[in-house]
């Protein structure tokens, strides 16, 4: 039995008007403008999974590049100008332009879109990793060195844990951006994302467009909340204590990305 047929549920959905139609599209199949069946939970799940798959792949590639580079630059203190400029340049290049550069030069497909998204995700991760490593108090690093720690031990036991909150903040900015930008992936030939009903309203209809837009917004907010929780969990206890009083006022605004003065 269709739980959305009649009753309180459909009444509530109808009351929401255009947005209700959007939700309806996500849960119930209907005849598309092109003739085929569109909408429904199965297709929604398929598009959602494609969206998440693309986003995760892009984030994995971005982390594989940005984290090691950021850690090394931050540990040695070299290349600070590079690490911070990357963020400024990254902000100035529109995500859609980057996607189309990959499309025009390398063609359509999952890998090309994924690489474009990864390139988009690198600057915040790289810059925040660098700044996080640099902002570890020098006294603490010196103490570690005085205890005879090797460079590797210093990074993994002292600098990395203390830099982790800021690194996580960078990951959070990147992840939300990647999820948002995966919406326009169908423009560059990878159709299995939630952007497909938004861009190809000719096939899915206006309900599909509004429904997918709502779902994309929900996925982005869920990503944000997930990474915010991870960021809190990654903050060492000692750091929470020492900053507690001073930081509490501004904890809700800790989405920091550094910029040149």
């Amino acid at each position: 039995m269709d739980p959305f047929e009649g009753g309180v549920m459909s009444g509530a959905i109808a009351a929401l008007g255009v947005f209700g139609d959007g939700i309806d599209f996500l849960v119930r199949e209907r005849q598309g403008r092109g003739g085929g069946e569109v909408g429904g939970l199965q297709q929604t799940a398929e598009l959602l999974w494609g969206h998440i798959k693309l986003s995760i792949a892009a984030m994995v590639v971005a982390c594989a590049v940005a984290l090691p580079v950021g850690l090394v630059l931050g540990h040695t203190g070299r290349g600070g100008f590079l690490a911070v400029s990357v963020a400024n340049i990254g902000r100035a290049v529109p995500s859609i332009a980057l996607i189309f550069v990959f499309f025009a030069w390398f063609g359509a497909g999952f890998v090309n879109v994924m690489l474009a998204l990864a390139l988009l995700a690198i600057p915040p991760i790289l810059t925040n990793t660098y700044v996080g490593m640099r902002e570890v108090e020098r006294d603490i690093v010196d103490a570690g060195r005085g205890m005879g720690m090797s460079a590797t031990k210093l990074v993994t036991s002292v600098e990395l844990p203390l830099a982790l909150p800021l690194i996580m903040a960078g990951l959070r900015v990147s992840a939300v951006n990647v999820v948002a930008t995966a919406t326009i992936a169908p423009l560059a030939g990878y159709a299995t994302t939630l952007g497909d009903p938004i861009i190809n309203a000719g096939v899915y209809g206006d309900e599909g467009r509004v429904g997918a837009a709502m779902l994309v917004a929900a996925v982005a907010i869920a990503t944000e909340l997930l990474f915010a929780a991870a960021q809190r969990a990654a903050t060492p206890e000692g750091l929470k204590l020492s900053r507690g009083t001073q930081r509490r006022r501004l904890t809700v605004i800790n989405r920091r990305v550094s910029t040149t003065p």
Binding site: G17, V18, F19, N88, R91, A92, V93, P94, S95, I96, A97, L98, F100, V101, F103, A104, W105, V176, V179, A180, T181, T183, I184, L187, A188, G195, I198, I199, A201, D206, R209, V210, A212, A213, M214, V216, A217, A220, I221, T223, E224, R249, L250, V252, I253, R255, V257, T259, P261
Partner: protein, 239 residues
């Protein structure tokens, strides 16, 4: 109700018949084509500038009073930061289409959505700037008999200016990038020609490049304004 995507006149951007050399036909990077067709990008560029300037100005008009208010009444910080945080998180393409049924196609939808994106950045930076004002400066102002209003305008805001301007710069460059998606809302901008012929390298290069140029130019303008408005930071750096 039907929303139509980018309404580019058919063949306008795709028309390459005048200079249909091998380079253009092969979707290459063609300096000749770029020079001949640069005028096609003037209108989208101006639309883009208007979207960015209007959105950042609206964002500042909303975020600035909110931040000043929250600076005095601390309990406001959490709700305002959370709401603007959620607005900042919603993908712009989604935001455009969620706004379409309410505000309709056109620049209004784009400006409302883009304004929403600037709020978090501007609010946070104005507030951080005000919070970073040294207590000594505040005490000195009080000692001179300044009222709360005078203290705000003559001491606290000038000292917060570098942080406020930094926020303005981040908000502006971010908005330049997001405005490239405004064509989804029917508001034009450089995204429109960019999308209309996305396989043509020359086109992608020019439209994308103009976005970067615009972001850099606006950034430098705000930086210049900041230098002029805060002469004391410059003299300190020089001495």
């Amino acid at each position: 109700m039907t929303f139509v995507l980018a309404q580019v006149p058919e063949g306008f951007y795709r028309d390459r018949s005048e200079s249909d050399t091998g380079c253009v036909a092969n979707n290459g990077v063609c300096p000749d084509w770029i020079v001949d067709n640069l005028d096609r990008y003037v209108d989208p560029f101006l639309e883009h500038v208007w979207l960015v300037v209007a959105s950042v100005a609206c964002g500042l008009l909303i975020a600035f009073p909110l931040a000043v208010l929250a600076y005095r009444r601390r309990w406001l910080i959490a709700p305002v930061a959370n709401i603007t945080g959620i607005l900042y998180t919603i993908p712009s393409v989604a935001a455009f289409f969620l706004l379409l049924p309410i505000t309709g196609r056109g620049a209004l939808t784009a400006i409302v959505a883009l304004t929403a994106y600037t709020l978090l950045i501007l609010f946070r930076n104005v507030l951080e700037g005000l919070d970073a004002v040294p207590d000594e400066a505040r005490d000195a102002g009080r000692g001179m008999g300044l009222t709360d209003g005078q203290l705000l305008w003559r001491v606290e805001l000038p000292l917060a200016l570098p942080s406020i301007m930094a926020g303005l710069r981040i908000a502006t460059t971010t908005t330049v990038g997001l405005a490239a998606l405004a064509f989804f809302a029917g508001a034009g901008g450089l995204g429109e020609p960019l999308e209309a012929d996305k396989a043509f390298k020359s086109n992608v290069l020019v439209a994308g490049g103009l976005c970067v140029v615009l972001a850099t130019a606006l950034d430098l303008i705000i930086l210049g304004a900041q230098r002029m408005m805060t002469p004391w930071t410059r003299s300190r750096a020089a001495s």
